[in-house]
């Protein structure tokens, strides 16, 4: 490892500075030949690992209903107060379902706490990180935008079972 140098420790050549410039330039040329470290984003997409916490989504069962039983735990734990749930009774076995389920994506901080506390594995973090809205109203995602078929979330559900 190079030593810690104070001014008095610099050699004459180093004090002269000119040779150092050439060394520096040599380094610059060396770096030019190295592979690039950046990603050309819109063309090349970043594929996140399964652990990635993208926008929270609701799991949609194969029959088209949501898993959620509208217990309201996610909305209680959310540090950003982003979730609103309104329950209603249903004839199905689970007895309750959310009449209204909204997440305000402007408020959400993608902490993943809602996923962690849900007793039904009904809300999970997806890999979706491209969130664009043109108005504040658009940013409030209702059930239509939140529900994602369970097949598309296999990665994440598997991760949750293995690592949580």
């Amino acid at each position: 490892m190079p030593d810690k140098k104070r001014k008095k420790d610099l050699t004459f050549a180093q004090k002269l500075y000119l040779p150092e410039i050439f060394k520096g330039l040599a380094l610059t040329f060396k770096s030019m030949l190295k592979p690039s470290v950046t990603m050309e984003y819109p063309e090349v997409k970043f594929v996140p690992p399964a652990a990635y916490r993208g926008r929270p989504v609701l799991v949609e069962e194969k029959d088209g209903t949501e898993r959620c039983v509208a217990c309201g735990l996610c909305s209680r734990v959310c540090p950003a107060l982003a979730i609103e749930v309104q329950p209603e009774e249903t004839e199905l076995e689970k007895e309750r379902y959310p009449k209204l389920f909204e997440i305000n994506m402007i408020r959400c901080i993608f902490c993943g706490f809602c996923e962690e506390v849900c007793p039904e594995e009904a809300i999970v973090m997806s890999k979706d990180y491209e969130l664009v809205f043109t108005s504040r109203e658009d940013a409030i995602y209702g059930k239509d935008k939140l529900l994602v078929p369970v097949d598309q979330l296999k990665d994440r559900l598997e991760f949750l079972r293995n690592f949580k």
């Binding site: 104070r6 150092e20 652990a51 990635y52 540090p79 007793p119 594995e121």
Partner: protein, 414 residues
């Protein structure tokens, strides 16, 4: 320029400071100028008011609070778990360190034991974060004094670290990874592999950085003897972290009051005696090397096992148990709705962060949320030194001094 009416108090403070610096032949008029809060060299939103005589700084008043979000007050209306994401936003260059510090404080308060593997993971991520924080510090510091290449390089290496966090915690920046009683998810083999690779990369990169800077005459000339903070002053002002060790005081919380398994680790505490900007830079570079050593030891010693303690009344149970068992489900609901109920009392716990000693003082009245929380943030305390250090320096050195003190305003303003 300065809006005199709003700044009357600041100006008064500025002119009340006694100045014993007189320079013959300087410009006759003193000048008051404003640096920041949007100045790129103030690392965020630090505002400095300077009174100049020619180019010499006669007095300086830092003004903080532009990034104040009231985190101490917010904690009082949140359960202990809910507050974890907010600790990310304190020192945002080394998020995991804050996560670890906070949960350690809560665990001390509530008397919760942590599984061994979780503690090792916490040490690893805390040290990785320290490297991350120091990389930013070194890079931006070098950029402040003119070496723009450095910041690009150090951010390149920082990217490797963030990929590990991505794999581990699911976010590159806002990690929120620790939980009271353990950590959120396990460190798998891929993450361990990535960490080994990262250490190698960082070592190579450090070698290059040092080659670029340590024998660079411009860099050394620019910083040697600039912004000297003496040992006595540093202790009087309550400076901690690399800034204190750059002034020749051997104080590191990891050694002075060992927490987690730091007493079992073999590492040095780098100390330099000069107290100038260069010494503070050297301390940071050496600390990165020590962190690499610690991480290697942790990776070798880390046992297999649980990552979060099984105590349903205080800590969220495993998901599988919540799905299948009634009792765990009830505790899950109770815990989220009412929180952990630590015993009445107060606790102070501090850890060594990249910026210095970060401490949490929590007063509990036995309910699910703290009655009062005080954060002893290192950047805030370190900024006190600005007045002492900058007096009598040239105005262009202020940039170097602020860079070498390395304040993070998210933490200083809380």
């Amino acid at each position: 320029m300065i809006d005199v009416h709003n700044d009357e108090k600041l100006l008064k403070a500025l002119f009340e400071q006694d100045t014993d610096i007189t320079i013959e032949d300087a410009l006759e008029n003193e000048m008051v100028i404003n640096m920041g809060p949007q100045h790129p060299a103030t690392h965020g939103v630090l505002r400095l008011l300077l009174r100049l005589d020619g180019e010499t700084v006669m007095s300086i008043v830092p003004e903080l609070g532009y990034l104040h979000r009231g985190y101490e007050k917010m904690a009082e209306s949140m359960s202990f778990n809910e507050y974890i994401p907010h600790t990310d936003r304190l020192d945002y260059t080394a998020t995991m360190c804050n996560n670890v510090a906070y949960v350690l404080a809560v665990e001390k308060l509530a008397g919760i034991e942590v599984p061994t593997r979780a503690t090792y993971i916490r040490m690893i991520i805390a040290e990785i974060s320290r490297i991350m924080g120091h990389l930013v510090a070194i890079g931006t510091f070098a950029m402040d004094v003119g070496a723009v290449t450095m910041v690009l390089w150090s951010f390149r290496e920082r990217e490797i670290i963030q990929n590990i966090f991505d794999r581990l915690a699911g976010a590159r920046f806002t990690t929120s990874y620790t939980r009271v009683g353990g950590v959120a998810s396990d460190m798998d083999d891929v993450a361990i592999e990535m960490t080994h690779g990262m250490l190698k990369d960082i070592e190579d990169a450090l070698f290059e950085y040092e080659k670029l800077l340590n024998s660079n005459r411009i860099f050394v000339d620019r910083l040697e003897g600039v912004g000297i903070l003496t040992k006595e002053k540093a202790i009087d002002l309550g400076i901690t972290g690399p800034n204190l060790r750059g002034s020749g005081v051997q104080y590191d919380v990891r050694r002075a009051k060992p927490y987690m398994f730091y007493d079992k680790m073999d590492f040095e505490v780098p100390v330099y005696n000069e107290g100038d900007c260069l010494a503070r830079y050297f301390v940071r570079v050496d600390e990165v090397k020590e962190s690499i050593k610690i991480i290697r030891q942790c990776l070798n010693q880390m046992p297999k096992g649980e990552i979060i303690i099984n105590s349903p009344k205080k800590v969220l149970s495993h998901k599988a148990e919540i799905y299948t068992k009634m009792e765990e489900l009830i505790h899950d609901f109770m815990l989220i709705n009412f929180g952990i109920h630590p015993p009445e009392g107060d606790v102070f716990f501090s850890v060594e962060n990249p910026k210095g000693e970060l401490g949490f003082y929590i007063v509990s009245n036995g309910t699910g949320h703290p009655w009062k929380m005080k954060i002893r943030s290192p950047s805030f305390c370190n900024l006190q030194a600005i007045e002492t250090i900058c007096k009598g320096q040239m105005i262009s050195d202020i940039v170097a001094i602020v860079g070498s003190l390395d304040p993070v305003m998210g933490e200083a303003d809380k």
